[in-house]
Amino acid sequence: MAPDGTAKAIPAAVAARPLGRSRGVSSLERLARRRSTIAFVMTLPLILVIAGLVAYPAAWAIYLSTLNRRMTANIGLDNYLFLIESESFRMIIWQSCFFAITAVLFKALIGFWLAHMLHTIPTRGQRKWRGMLLIPWVIPPALSTLGWWWMFDPSYSSINWLLTVVGFPPVPWLGQPWWARIAVIMVNVWYGAPFFMIMYLAALKSVPEQLYEAAAIDGATSWQRLWFITLPMMRNIIAITVLFSLIVTFANYDIVRVLTNGGPRDTTHLFATYAFQVGILSGNLPRGAAVSLFMLPILAIAAFFILRGVTRRAREMA
């Protein structure tokens, strides 16, 4: 038929398969050709990364946290008890929760507001604005925080210069505990709000237009549209984004490290920066491991709900 023989080659290939398998192929070769074997070989590097660099270290951290400073004896839960009993660590727990909750709340609100505003303007212009507003998320946070640090500088603060122009007194940004806490939260909100905006914008665009048309015919006000259509349709995405951001914010390290390094008087330390100070800088690895493991319960709860949300969403979309 076909001069190049392609038409014949296809049935030949199909016919050759069962023949080749039944005749003269060693069992090793057959194992190598089995689908599950190939699949296992392909996933092996992934399994090695997860098992060797995440699961094993996590288990090792739990074991490590039960050792004494020189790692010579097992002291059970003493590291945890010591931490819980110390006044300064209790303040770090409080500060971490305050930081994460406040920052996520502001990020979510600002992100939602901006996504809504972006969704209102004509589609042509959206790209340009979205591109501009995502810049804070694109710059590596350790580097942009350096810029903020310079803006908060005690004697050359450019923010204070603006405040003076408007008639406000200068603010000791990184010098006083409460201002330092606010400064750290501000930088985190600045960095993270664009992410919320992008996620919410994607969710807003996936709400079917017919729902709004139907609501408009029924005479719904814009508040009613927001409350009865937009929010219920976005509920899942909002939950996933908030919980995800809660994990990342809770475990934040770079902003505090660059901006205040925990100061003034350890009032802005988070779990991560304090674990770094105790574990790496002071050389008490077991206690440092214990500090960072304090994050685990909160992370586990958030992860559970994220996973539930994601599977539910996958099922809805299927």
């Binding site: 660099l53 270290p57 996620m199 814009s222 490290r257």
Partner: protein, 299 residues
């Protein structure tokens, strides 16, 4: 009859409504633009101020009577100084080596694994896919202390190869996760057709899956690139020798020293270091955003 009369009575009101809808829409548009302009000013102020600082002379920076937000006599001396600094160039070189190796390794691992997990059902494949997602949620600040010991045990502290070893924990889970989503969206008819034509699994991956899921691969590569470029916790913990530092920790720990703040140089260095991710973002914005939103909407 009564209905028609009611409809007639309603018409003037309806027209009034249309007018008010138009007005409402105009008001909403104005509010939107006002909010967006305000947000853009706040969001872009820090990078703008970094740029202004980096092109100011030291004398101008020290003069507190001047408006710090504008520059009067722009200069490139800080850029010249930082680009002539061999230490800074070493940071840059280290960042490039680490990022290139990590991105390559990540993409090989995650494309292979995602292909197997999305197409070849095998024992435990569902559990593994869930495990990948859970791993993505484990923050680096939970793992750096045990990894410090593990990397130390391998003798890789103070070496960029220690970073190459641990960075995949940041990149592989998410890249695998979004690649599973992209591969799963390819219609099964395509691979059945390939199977009938006698294609092997590797051929199917190379000739069908990778070309069809190319947008996903680009998105995952961008993610791996930006994450390894910006990584901060691991290099801070594992590297104390300047000649092995990547850019992020290098600038933060080496350029900022004691009381002599060389702000112009610090800002110039930070901006140069931030440039590669920003350039990638500007040119591949749609892929970047697709990768960002894929984590929650796909898979």
């Amino acid at each position: 009859m009564a209905e028609a009369a009611a409809a007639n009575r309603d018409f003037p009101r309806l027209y009034g409504r249309v007018g008010s809808l138009h007005r409402e829409r105009l008001l909403a548009l104005r509010l939107s633009y006002a909010s967006l302009i305000f947000a853009a000013i706040i969001f872009l102020a820090p990078p703008f101020y970094m740029l202004v600082t980096s092109i100011k002379t030291n004398a101008e920076m020290a003069d507190q009577t001047l408006n710090p937000w504008i520059v009067r006599s722009p200069t490139l001396e800080h850029y010249a100084a930082i680009l002539g600094n061999p230490v800074f160039l070493t940071f840059f070189k280290n960042s490039i080596i680490v990022t290139v190796v990590v991105v390559t390794v990540t993409m090989v691992i995650s494309v292979l694994a995602a292909f197997a997990l999305s197409r070849m059902r095998f024992w435990g494949s569902q559990t593994l896919a869930t495990g990948v997602f859970l791993t993505y949620l484990v923050p680096d600040t939970l793992l750096f202390i045990p990894l410090y010991q593990i990397v130390g045990g391998l003798g890789l502290l103070n070496s960029i190869w220690g970073l190459v070893l641990v960075y995949p924990t940041l990149t592989v889970p998410f890249c695998t996760w979004i690649m599973i989503g992209y591969f799963a969206s390819i219609p099964r008819e395509l691979d059945e057709a390939a199977l009938i034509d006698g294609a092997t699994w590797p051929q199917m991956l190379m000739k069908i899956f990778i070309p069809v899921a190319l947008p996903g691969i680009i998105a995952a590569t961008i993610f791996a690139f930006t994450v390894s470029w910006a990584a901060f916790v691991y290099p801070t913990a594992f590297i104390t020798r300047p000649d092995q530092m990547p850019l992020t920790i290098g600038i933060v720990s080496q350029l900022v020293r004691g009381d002599t703040f060389a702000w112009g140089q610090i800002m110039a260095g930070a901006l140069i270091a931030a440039l590669p991710p920003v350039v990638v973002y500007v040119f591949l914005m749609d892929y970047y955003i697709a990768g960002l939103t894929a984590g929650a909407t796909k898979g």
